[in-house]
Symmetry: D2
Subunit: 340 residues, 4 copies
C-alpha cells in the first residue's frame, strides 16, 4: 500500500527501506534534502513540502511521523494536520509520551484525522531483523494499516512459537500488536523501554562484579575511614568478561539479544575503554517509573536502573556533597581521594 514517512534518520530510513523492499509505495520527507535524495535513490517518492503528501498519496492517506519526541513531534503533527484531509491518518512512530497522544488525538479528531501511535523497537538492526511494533488507535484504522505493520514486523518465524501455539498466529506473534485505543501503543513501548533499562543494568552490574573479582590481588591502603577486605583470598579471580558473555549466550538462563550485543562490544573492547560511562536516558524509562508510582505498583528494579543512569551523569552531586558535609559535621571526617 501507500505510506508517507517524515523523518529519515536511522529509524525512519530503516522503516522506509523495509517497506520499499516489500513493494510498498513510500513518499518521504525530511528537513534535510539530502536525506530525501538518499531514499529517492532507493525508490521512494521525494516530498519537498508537507503539502506534497496530499498529491502523492491516495486518500485515505497515512503518514508516519518519525522525529524526536516532544516539541518537534508536536510541531510536525500540527503542520501535517493543516494539509491532510478528514479520513487520513497520522502515525506517530517516535518515542512520544502516551499522554501527548491523547492530546494529539483530540486535536486531530476535531478535523476528522486519525492518530495511530506506534511504539517501534528494533533500533539500527530493524531494517534486517524487522521492527517490533506496539500500536494504539481505533480498530478500523489499525486494521486498514495492517499490511504496513505486517511488512515492518519480523514475522512469526522470528522466534520459535510458544509451546501450544499452532495454526493461525495469535495477536502479537507476527511481531506487531494492536494494544488498545490511542496511547496504548506508546504505553506498552514505554514499559518496554523501562524493562530494557532494568535488563541492561542487570547485565552491567554483573559484569562489574566479575571485573572486580580480583580486588583481593590489588593493593589497598588501610585506615580508619576504609572498610578492610576481610578475606582477600576470596577475590583473586581474573575473569575474562568477553568469554563469559559468550558462554552465557549458549544454553544459560540469561541468554538474550542484549547479551549478544554485549558480547560483541566486549569482544572488541574488553576494558570498554572507549566509553566514558555517562549514560543518557530518553524519556520512556522516566515515564515508566512515573506510571508505576501513579498506579501505586512498585518497580524498584526499573527505577533503580533509571537512577543509576542519572548518577552516571553526576546528577546526584549535591546529594553526595551533603553526605560529605554531614560526615565532617559528626565525625570530623575529611573526604578522601577516590577508590580504596
Amino acid at each position: 500500500m501507500q505510506l508517507g514517512m517524515i523523518g529519515l534518520g536511522r529509524m525512519g530510513a530503516g522503516l522506509s527501506r523495509r517497506l520499499l523492499r516489500d513493494g510498498h509505495t513510500v513518499a518521504v520527507h525530511d528537513v534535510d534534502p539530502a536525506a530525501i535524495d538518499a531514499l529517492a535513490v532507493d525508490g521512494a517518492v521525494p516530498i519537498r513540502e508537507l503539502s506534497g503528501f496530499v498529491e502523492a498519496l491516495e486518500a485515505p492517506r497515512a503518514v508516519w511521523v518519525m522525529v524526536p519526541a516532544g516539541a518537534i513531534t508536536q510541531r510536525v503533527i500540527a503542520s501535517l494536520a493543516d494539509v491532510l484531509e478528514p479520513g487520513d491518518a497520522i502515525i506517530d512512530g517516535g518515542n512520544s509520551y502516551y499522554r501527548d497522544d491523547l492530546d494529539h488525538a483530540a486535536m486531530l479528531g476535531e478535523r476528522g484525522i486519525h492518530l495511530v501511535d506506534v511504539g517501534t523497537s528494533g533500533g539500527v538492526h530493524g531494517l534486517e531483523r524487522g521492527f517490533s511494533l506496539m500500536i494504539g488507535g481505533d480498530d478500523a484504522v489499525v486494521a486498514r494499516l495492517a499490511p504496513v505493520f505486517r511488512t515492518l514486523a519480523p514475522g512469526v518465524d522470528a522466534a520459535p512459537r510458544t509451546p501450544g501455539l499452532t495454526g493461525e498466529p495469535v495477536p502479537g506473534e507476527e511481531g506487531w500488536l494492536h494494544c488498545g485505543p490511542v496511547g496504548a501503543g506508546h504505553f506498552v513501548k514505554m514499559v518496554h523501554n523501562g524493562v530494557e533499562y532494568g535488563l541492561m543494568a542487570a547485565y552491567a552490574e554483573g559484569l562489574n562484579v566479575l571485573r572486580n573479582a580480583n580486588i583481593g590481588s590489588r593493593e589497598h591502603a588501610q585506615d580508619a575511614e576504609t572498610a578492610p577486605l576481610s578475606h582477600p583470598e576470596h577475590y583473586r579471580f581474573d575473569i575474562d568478561t568477553a568469554a563469559v558473555a559468550e558462554v552465557w549466550r549458549r544454553g544459560s538462563v540469561v541468554g538474550s539479544w542484549l547479551l549478544d550485543l554485549t558480547a560483541a562490544a566486549l569482544r572488541e573492547d574488553p576494558d570498554l575503554a572507549a566509553y566514558s560511562g555517562q549514560v543518557s536516558d530518553s524519556g520512556e524509562g522516566r515515564w515508566t517509573s512515573i506510571a508505576a508510582i501513579e498506579e501505586g505498583v512498585p518497580t524498584p528494579v526499573l527505577t533503580t536502573a533509571l537512577y543509576s543512569r542519572f548518577a552516571s551523569r553526576d546528577l546526584d552531586d549535591y546529594a553526595q556533597k551533603a553526605l560529605s558535609a554531614m560526615r565532617k559535621g559528626f565525625g570530623g571526617h575529611e573526604e578522601k581521594p577516590t577508590g580504596e
Copy 2:
C-alpha cells in the same frame, strides 16, 4: 570417556542422559535406588555404594556431584574422598558457594584428589538445549575433562556467532568456559544467577505496570490517607500481557529466553492465578550481593531484585509494622485495609 554421577534429580539425570546419548560411559548413584534404576534403563552403570565407582571407572577417575549445596554437598564430597584415589577428580556441579570450593579443594588436595567446580545453567531444558558450563580448576584436569564438557554444552551453533568471530571457536563459544582456578566456575555462575534475578525482576515489574494500566477505570475510595489519582484518564488501558510478551519476543530489544518462558506461562494463565507469588531464592543471588558489597561495587538492581523476593515472603514484616507504629505515633494514623 567415563564419568561418575552422584545425584540423579532433575539436573543430574539430564546431565547423565545427555552424556549417554553421546556415547560416554556414565556410572550413576543416588540415595534413591529407583533413580539409579531409571538411569540404568537408559544405559548407565548402576552404582549402589560410593565405593563402587572405584571399580566401575578407570583411573584417573572423575565423579560429578550434583546434590543440594551446603551440608549435603560437603558430606558427599567427604565420603567420596574416602573411596577415591590420588589423581582422581571430583566435579562439584551444584550451586555451591565458591568459598566452599576453596575449602573443599584444600581438603582434597591433601589426598591428591582434584576439585573442579562447574556452575551449570540450563535447568530442565538442558537435556535438549545443552548446559551452559562455567568451570573452575587446574588447567590439566579441566583439559582432561574437555570431552565431557563438550558433550554437555550446547555447542557453538546454539547462538549466532558474535560478529567478527570466525574459524576456530574462542573460549566460551562452545558453551563451556574454563573461568580460572578452583572457585572461579561457581563465582561466575553465582553472578550469572544474580543477573538472572535482575532480569526476571525487570520483566515482572514491567508486566505489573501493564497489568495495572487500567487503574483509572477502577473504583477507589478517597480520604486523607490515600493519594488521589490525579488523572484517571491516563490509566484506562486493558493490556493483554500474553500478547505483549509475544510481540516483545520478535524484533524488540528485550527479547530473551526468559521472555520466551514468560510468554508460555502467560499464554496458559494470563492472570497467573495458579501462583501465590512467594518467591524463593537459592543462595547465588545472596552471594552475588555479598560479593558486590565486599568488592565495593554497587549492584543496586541485583540486590533490589533479591530484596523483592525476601519481601514477597513477608520477611520485611517487622519493618513494615514499625512504619505503621511510627505513623500512628506522629500522625495518629490508623492502618487501613489493603489496596486503595
Copy 3:
C-alpha cells in the same frame, strides 16, 4: 489577628486551638456541626455556612483550608472563592499537590483572591510543640499573615540555634519559612514527606535486622530451593529493640524525633503485634519521586522507601507471581510455603 478555618479534623482543630490560645480570633467551619461546636467551646466563632466568613472576618480576610487533598480541597476552594472578596486570601494548609496550587492560584487570581500554600508538619503533637510551616505565595500576603505563622510555629527556641547564628533569627529559624511563590510551600513540604519516608524506612529496616539477629538459633529446613545459612553462630543474638531505641536516643548519631516515637511504640509493644504492617502513603512521597524523575536527579533511597510501602500492601502481587511462573518455566521450581 483574625483567621477563618475550614476543616476541624486532627490538624485543623489543633491549629485553631493554638491560635486561640495566643489571642487570635478564629472563625471555624466543618461539615460536621459537632466539630464546630467543640471548637466554639474553646472560644472559636462558629460558622455554619461558608458565607458566614464574610461577616465574621474583617477584610482583607484570610481563610485557612485544612481538608483532604484533591477533589475535596478543590471543591472547598471553589466554594470559598464564590463568597470571598477581592483582596482576601485563601490558605491551603493541607497536603495538596503543588501543581494544583498553580491551577488554584490562577483561578483565584481572576477574582483578585490570593492563594497561600502552607505545608504543615507536626501531626497530632503540633498543638503543644508548634507546627513547622513551609509557605508559598506573594510577598505582601505572606507578610500580612506573619502573626498567624508566628503563633503556629514552634519558635526559635524549639531547637538550639545553629552554631554561628546569633541575634535576630534568620528565615526558617522561628519554624516557619516563606519558601517562594505559590506552590513553593507545598513543594518543600512534599520533599519533607519524601525525606520522612526515607528516614522511617531506615529505622524500620535496621530494627528488622536486629529483630532477626537470632536467626541462627531457629530451626530451618534445608533443601535445594533454600539458601543455607553458612554460619548460624553469627546470628544468635536476642536483641531488645526497645532498649536499643532508648540507647540510640542519647548521644548517638541517629537520634531524632522519629526515633523518640519509635521508642515509645516499642516500649508499649516490642513485638509490634498490634500492627498488620500494611503501610499507607498519602501522596507527597509519590510526588517527591516524580519530581526527582522529572528533574533528573536520583532519589534511590526515597523511592525505595515508597515502593516498600506499595509492596507492604501487596501491590507487587502480579510481578511476584510472574517470577514464580518464570522459575517454574526454567527450573521446574514449585513455590514453597513462606519462610525458610
Copy 4:
C-alpha cells in the same frame, strides 16, 4: 575506677578526657608519644609500653582499645593479651566487625582474659554530649565496668523520657546498653551505622530535589537522546536549602541531630562547594547489608544508601560503560557530554 586507654585519636582522647573529668584514673598509651603527653597534661597516667598497664592498674584490670578496626585492632589485642593477666578485661571500643569479636574472645578466653565489645557513637561531639554505648560481653564483666559506662554515656537526661517511663531508668535510658554476649555490642553498633547511612541519604536526596527545583528555569538542549521536560513551569523554584533545614529543625517530623549538623553545614556553605562528593564508607554499612542478606530480611533503603556511596566514588564505572556499549550496539547511540 581505673581504666587503660590505647589509641588517643579523636575518639580515644575524648573518651579519656570525659573519664578524667569525672574522677576516674586513666592510664593512656598511643604509638605517638606526643598524644600521650597531651593527655598526661590533663591528668592521665602516661604509659610508654603496653607492659606498663600491668603496673599502673590494679587487677582485675580493664584496658580500652580504640584503634582502627581490622589488622591494627587485632595486633593490639594480641599484644595486650601477652601482658595482661587472667581476670583482666580488654574492651574493644572501635568499629570492629562483630565476627572478629567472636574470634578475639575465643583467643583471649584461653588465657582467662575477658573481651567486652563496645560500639561507640557520638563522634567528635562525644566529649561534651556523652557517648552512646552498645555493649557486648559477659554479665559479670560488664557489670563491673558499669561506672565507666555511666560516666561516658550521656545519661538519662540527654533526652526526654519516653512517655510511660518513670522512676528508675530501664536499660538503655542512661545511654549505655548491655546488648548481649560478646559481639552483640558491635552488632547493634553495626546496624546503628547502617541506619545512619540510610538517614543521611534520605536528607541528602531531599536536598538535591530542592536544589534542582529550578530546573525549568535553566536552558536545556533538546534532541532524540534527551527526555524533554514536559512542564518546565512546574520547576521554577529557587529554594534556600539552608533556610529549609532550619524550618525542618523546628516542629517537623524530620527533625534530628543529623539535620542539625546539615543545617550548620548549609549555613556556612549553601552550595557545598567545599566538598567533592566522594563519600567513604567504613565497614558497618557493608556489614549491615551482609547481615540483612544472610538473615534473609530486606534492607533496600540501607543497601541503596551504601551503593550510592560506592557510586559516588565511581566504583560503578565498568557497569556504566557496559550500558553505553549496549546502547551503541542496539541504537547506534553515541555518548553525550554530561547533563541534559
